[in-house]
Symmetry: C2
Subunit: 484 residues, 2 copies
């Protein structure tokens, strides 16, 4: 195969800025060629009805096709594919806890999270899927065109063919507009990453059942509603570059100022830190602190209660792992069992924004999570389940968490509950919040925090392992503020 | 500590392009404020005389302060710092060999490779060090201002203070212009990376013995001589951004065309592949192929001859590991012992360049080396010790290696012998060559090869783990072609 054949027949559109303007034009479209957002809601409600699944907890030892290894206690599928539940031993000099053990999901395969886009009436539309996942609070959420593990898409176990997969595997038609490996939850997954890919096609293609075409403006409007866009949609969407003509952006002066920071040519000049400084800040932290995370037998995960029934933390903190049976009320569809991980409570994922020299900046934090391949990634200002910290001294509570409660209601610019991946996590929801502050938060911040613009986040997200999955979700929240 | 304090007192100079123009202006200066290149050569010869060391091979079991672990056979320092010699088991579906074991150097610390720069008479100068390393063929080579492992610079073992270290550790004065973690040889090191950092100061500072100030133009002129710039200098230099006014560049039309590709705003538009396509090519290869590399006891490295005396491959391939005693003829200086790794022969590191639509492109290859943290990095067109492949069938010989012999002498634009790191490797030299080809090499290339411009290489090298250390060295060779 020749690498020059992979370019596809779709022409380039004026480089990155040209593509970013096309994406922004789609973000400015409140209605799609095929359905308004009101019509989408009707269609989506109907899809939820068609996919009327329910998930029942069962003991781990009752899982079919999954087994508990007699030596290690690790939980794995009979095929050795999909994922395993193993133990992790962590040692670090970053943060208050120098050493711990925990269960972790190990899924070494790289999956595909792909959105197909196509111009209709000159506007890019995204092909989205109404997809059931067993851990979703509301069964069905809006997913990328394709969302598949390698075990799924190489059809090792002869599952059904994956609709539209052919657009995302070689040899393929179409032009790749985004294609980057991104990490997922570093506290729950060991070195997991997925391929976030956007492919543009010009050819006609059939619209299969359960799929719809929406503009990016419609997707960003749906970002303002609880639990509609699933995590995989949000992470792919976050990797899309935008460049707006900020003067004509909707909304007020703050929203236009936020949109203005998307201009990659000027955002570095007006930001508190240029990209060299941001990269140096991250390099410094990686060089100064160390993290060692080793997979160990699940049985050796001291400090946790592990039975053949369920895995729990004795204080009720962090998460449980249990078995789930997935049942369709519609009798035609297959049922299956699998392990699921359930966080102990709803989490808080918040960013503080602040105008510095008139330019909106987002406060982000360097986080060392044990599942990251390269120790440190950048997350939101606050990312935690508060209960996990409730018995720790004040100095060890997450920074800025207390502050959020003291901010006036008028500071809250975004407040939506969103779910983490429903294929592995049960009812894992987080409250995503964007606050705008003034002098309550000074420009000087602790060493592991940094102010950057939304445009600078867009520069980083082109590459792997800079922004964690929570920060990437938050980018979609922030984009919804200027676009909707 | 506040991250806003880290910026330093040195002003920004018009963002990345402004900095890149300043670096290019220094590259255009053939003589420095303090010495001409002829004067440098005299000074450097004198420094080589002062540092008259010699390295003698000794059996591994005669190393002082190093020991062979009775259980694993691993070789380590009594302090548990510096590095160890361990075993590695590799499994991959990339390339002709699916599984092998080999010895590997394990050095988990992140060291500092730092160059201090300062303007004199409006031109940036680099503070360079004439430094002895035991594995160098010529004892002394030109090194960055600071070249120190973490064990060195945190002075765990009370070594001498490292000159100028204070400019590279927090809290520091000065403005960081480059700061990125980069990998080193993935066939010899397990997941090693060093911090490549350039710091600009405006304050006066003393010139210590063994150091000199040179322009980047002088450094690039020295790139055309065998074994002057050491590997650490080359990797830091490769991370420096350049942007030239190509019309006024020295040399002929080809050199000016090469310099023109440095313009980050235009290089994507005129290149065969834009950056999105290059990143997608790499993502595709990472997703398609897998690499598992696990540290194992050195004793379990089957296929190698391991004794208390020396480690060798029975076919005389790859490398040996032996003990070395480093002696100073000047009796005042301490002597020490350490393990060194010696490659079996001089290697070939070559790039093919070709004008495509008039624009010079460099042919690079995606390489899966077992020591890479993220499996694949981008290397030169050819990177090998030919003898390692001599008994393999033709189809498994390195691509393009044969072709090099068939090219006319006029195609050879650069041909210099350069050393790899002399602190770990004994007489590890490679012949670096740049060829310019015409129709001998078509634009269509195998799937793990890609054409990109020197400017696109500069975009990638801002980030970790895109360009391997051989490709980064080659960037300095290529820069010398337009600058000198």
């Amino acid at each position: 195969m020749s690498s020059t054949l992979d370019v596809g027949a779709v022409p380039r559109h004026g480089g990155r800025t040209g593509q970013a303007l096309r994406f922004a034009a789609s973000a400015a479209e409140p209605a799609g060629r095929f359905m308004t957002t009101a019509q989408f809601r009707q269609w989506f409600a109907q899809r939820s009805h068609v996919n009327d699944f329910r998930t029942e907890p069962i003991p781990l030892h009752d899982l079919r096709d999954w087994s508990i290894d007699p030596v290690t206690g690790n939980i794995g599928h009979a095929s050795s594919r999909f994922f395993t539940v193993e133990g992790l031993r962590v040692r670090t000099d970053f943060g208050p806890v120098p050493e711990w053990r925990q269960p972790i999901l190990h899924q070494p395969e790289i999956g595909i999270l792909g959105i197909l886009v196509k111009e209709f009436d000159g506007v890019l539309h995204c092909l989205m899927s109404a997809k059931m996942e067993p851990g979703n609070v509301n069964v069905v959420q809006l997913s990328p065109t394709v969302q598949a593990t390698r075990s799924n898409y190489t059809r090792v176990h002869r599952g059904n063919a994956i609709t539209y997969l052919e657009y995302f595997v070689q040899p393929r038609q179409g032009r790749v507009l985004v294609d980057v490996l991104q990490s997922e939850q570093g506290s729950w997954f060991y070195q997991k990453r997925n391929r976030n890919i956007v492919v543009e096609v010009t050819e006609d293609l059939p619209l299969e059942e359960g799929f719809c075409w929406l503009t990016i403006g419609q997707l960003l409007e749906l970002m303002t509603e609880d639990n509609v866009l699933n995590m995989d949609t949000r992470t792919v969407l976050s990797c899309i570059p935008f460049a707006t003509d900020a003067k004509t952006a909707p909304g007020g002066e703050w929203e236009r100022a936020l949109a203005a920071t998307l201009d990659v040519d000027s955002t570095d000049a007006t930001a508190v830190h240029d990209t060299v400084e941001i990269l140096s800040w991250l390099t410094e932290l990686k060089a100064r602190y160390s993290l060692t995370a080793e997979l160990i037998p699940l049985r050796d995960t001291t400090g946790w209660e592990i039975s053949d029934d369920r895995i729990t933390h004795p204080d009720g903190k962090y998460f449980d792992v249990f078995g789930a049976r997935v049942l369709a009320s519609n009798r035609e569809v297959t049922q299956w069992t699998q392990p699921l991980m359930a966080p102990s409570e709803q989490g808080v994922i918040a960013v503080i924004t602040k105008r510095i020299n008139g330019v909106p900046h987002v406060l982000l934090q360097a986080r060392m999570e044990p599942g990251y391949l390269d120790s440190v990634e950048i997350g939101p200002t606050v990312q935690c389940c508060p209960g996990n910290y409730r018995d720790l001294p004040k100095a060890q509570q997450p920074a800025f968490l207390d502050l959020l409660d003291t901010l006036p209601k008028s500071a809250l610019r975004y407040d939506v509950v969103l779910s983490e991946e429903g294929g592995r996590f049960y009812h894992a929801s987080n409250r995503y919040q964007v606050f705008e502050v003034g002098d309550e938060v000074p420009v000087a911040v602790p060493e592991n925090y940094i102010w950057m613009t939304l445009g600078q986040m867009g520069t980083l997200v082109r590459h792997s392992r800079y922004l964690n999955v929570q920060a990437r979700s938050m980018m979609c929240s922030l984009h919804s503020l200027w676009a909707v």
